[in-house]
C-alpha cells in the first residue's frame, strides 16, 4: 500500500518546527528517520496531514558530552552515528549495545535515537536502555521547554509524555559510576527482530567490599512500557552477584512480571525467558564491572 496524501515541511529551526506542530488546523506528525513512521504510513495505520521533517535543523544534529559529564543526543542524530561515537562507546556502552540490537545496519543508518524513544514501541531496545540509564528527556513546546524523567516519559504502548504540539529535542544520559558493568540480553525469533522479551542490567561494584552497590534491571516486551524490576534490583544490591543472588533476582522478576499472551509468546514463556535472560545478563554485567 501507499501512504495517504500529506504535506511535507522541513523547518530549519526548532521554533519553526514548533509553529508547524502548533498549527491545530491540520494533524501534524514529526518525521525524523522514518523507520517506524513510514511503515505505518505505507500501511495507512497513520494518516497525518503534515509531516514535519526535523532532520534539517542543525542544532538537533549534535552528540555532545556537556560540562556536567552528561551525554546529550539531539533529535536528528541517527542510531548508527550515536553507536559509533567514541564518547558513547566508552561512557554509555549499554546505549551502544542497545542500538546494536535494533534491526540491522540498513535501519540503524536511518533511524534516530530520539525517534525510537518518542515512538515508544514497548518491545524496542532504546526505551529500555533509557530507563536503565536514568535518561532525561528535553521536550520543547508552545508552553516552554520542560525536562521529563525516564520513569515519567513512557506512558503506554506508542504513547509518551510528549504532547502532539511538542517536540522531543534531546535525550540526556547522566554519567555512570566508574565501576559499572552492563548487559543487554534479548530473545528474538530471528536475529534483528523485535525482542519477544529482553533484559537490560546495570551493576555498580563497590571495589572495597566487592559487592553490588547499585543495581538497575529493566525488562522490555513484558508490558505496555519498559518494566523496571525493583525487587530484582533489591535482591542483587549488597550481594556478591553470585549464583544465589542471581537466582533470587530471577525469582523476584518472575513475581513482578505480568506480561500478556500474544501471537508470539505466551505470558508464561515470556516470564520464564525474562528470568533466564536476567541471570545471564547479571553474570555478564558483573564480569564487566572488573
Amino acid at each position: 500500500m501507499k501512504p495517504t496524501p500529506f504535506d511535507y515541511t522541513a523547518p530549519r529551526t526548532v521554533g519553526d518546527a514548533l509553529a508547524l506542530l502548533a498549527d491545530d488546523s491540520r494533524d501534524a506528525k514529526v518525521l525524523a528517520g522514518g523507520q517506524s513512521l513510514i511503515p505505518m504510513l505505507n500501511m495507512r495505520l497513520a494518516r497525518p496531514e503534515v509531516l514535519v521533517d526535523i532532520t534539517r535543523i542543525p542544532e538537533l544534529g549534535r552528540v555532545v558530552v556537556d560540562s556536567d559529564g552528561c551525554l546529550r543526543i539531539g533529535a536528528a542524530v541517527r542510531q548508527s552515528r550515536a553507536a559509533a561515537d567514541p564518547a558513547v562507546r566508552d561512557g554509555w556502552p549499554l546505549l551502544a549495545d542497545a542500538i546494536g540490537l535494533i534491526g540491522h545496519p540498513q535501519i540503524r543508518g536511518r533511524g534516530t535515537v530520539c525517534g525510537s524513544l518518542a515512538h515508544h514501541d514497548p518491545a524496542a531496545e532504546l526505551p529500555t536502555a533509557a530507563l536503565a540509564l536514568d535518561a532525561r528527556f528535553v521536550v520543547a513546546g508552545p508552553r516552554g521547554t520542560r525536562t521529563v524523567e525516564a520513569a515519567d516519559f513512557f506512558v503506554a504502548t506508542f504513547a509518551t509524555a510528549v504532547e502532539p504540539d511538542e517536540l522531543l529535542t534531546e535525550v540526556v544520559f547522566p554519567p555512570l559510576a566508574a565501576h559499572h558493568g552492563r548487559a543487554f540480553e534479548e530473545l528474538t525469533r530471528r536475529h534483528g527482530d523485535f525482542a519477544t522479551v529482553g533484559v537490560a542490567v546495570l551493576l555498580e561494584r563497590d571495589p572495597a567490599s566487592d559487592t553490588v552497590r547499585r543495581a538497575r534491571v529493566v525488562c522490555c516486551g513484558a508490558g505496555p512500557t519498559p518494566v523496571r524490576l525493583t525487587a530484582a534490583e533489591a535482591a542483587l544490591t549488597g550481594t556478591d552477584a553470585g549464583p544465589a543472588a542471581r537466582a533470587e533476582a530471577a525469582r523476584a522478576a518472575l513475581g513482578a512480571l505480568a506480561p500478556a499472551d500474544d501471537v508470539h509468546s505466551t505470558a508464561e514463556h515470556r516470564r520464564e525467558s525474562a528470568a533466564h535472560l536476567l541471570v545471564r545478563a547479571c553474570t555478564t554485567a558483573w564480569e564487566r564491572t572488573r
Partner: protein, 184 residues
C-alpha cells in the same frame, strides 16, 4: 486538481474523480539530488516513496520493491554512502542526497564491480529478485575503511531476505568480494 479515468471499452461514461483534497499544490516539492553521479531535478508529491521515484519516475527498475514496509531489503540502495531502504524513505527527504542504485555500479559497458563479479562467480543468487539489495549492502561493506568481521557481515546480510534461501552462496560471494578488497 482533477483527473479523468478512461472508460472501459463498453463500460459506463467516463467518471471524473477528485484527487484527495490534500494533494494540493503545497504537497508538491521540487527536489534536487544526485543519482548514480548524475544530477536529477524533479517535482515530487510528499508521499512518493523513494522506491517508486526511482522505478517509476527515473526508470531505474533495478531497485526491486518487495514488502514495502522495510523487512525484505530488496529495495536497498546507497543513500549518502550507506545502505538504506527506499520503501522507508520519501523521495522528498532526499533533497541534496547522493544516491547510488544497482544500475550505477557498472553503467553501460563498464566491467562488473568486484561485488557483482563475486555474486556471478559464486552464484550468489537463485531467482535474483533480492539480488540488487544484497549487492548494494555488500558494496557498502567493501567500501568501509576496515574489513568487517564475520558478525558484522552476518548483521548486514540479516537486513535482506532471500525467499529461495540461497544464503550460503550469497555469503560466499560477499566473503570473496571482501577478500578481494581487503586481502585474505
Amino acid at each position: 486538481m482533477t483527473a479523468t479515468v478512461p472508460a472501459a471499452p463498453s463500460g459506463p461514461a467516463p467518471a471524473t474523480v477528485r484527487t484527495p483534497p490534500l494533494a494540493e499544490p503545497s504537497a508538491w516539492h521540487a527536489i534536487r539530488l544526485t543519482v548514480n553521479g548524475r544530477p536529477v531535478a524533479a517535482e515530487v508529491e510528499s508521499r512518493l516513496l523513494l522506491s517508486d521515484f526511482l522505478r517509476d519516475r527515473l526508470g531505474l527498475t533495478g531497485t526491486h520493491t518487495g514488502c514495502e514496509h522495510g523487512v525484505c531489503g530488496a529495495c536497498t540502495v546507497l543513500l549518502d554512502g550507506e545502505p538504506a531502504r527506499t520503501c522507508l524513505t520519501l523521495a522528498v527527504q532526499c533533497e541534496g542526497a547522493d544516491l547510488r542504485t544497482v544500475e550505477g555500479l557498472a553503467p553501460d559497458d563498464a566491467p562488473l564491480t568486484p561485488v557483482q563479479r563475486a555474486f556471478h562467480e559464486c552464484h550468489g543468487m537463485q531467482c535474483g529478485f533480492c539480488t540488487p539489495g544484497f549487492v548494494m549492502t555488500a558494496t557498502a561493506l567493501t567500501e568501509q575503511p576496515a574489513r568487517p568481521d564475520e558478525e558484522q557481515v552476518a548483521d548486514a546480510l540479516s537486513g535482506h531476505l532471500c525467499r529461495c534461501t540461497g544464503y550460503r552462496n550469497i555469503r560466499r560471494a560477499v566473503c570473496r568480494a571482501l577478500d578481494e578488497r581487503f586481502g585474505e
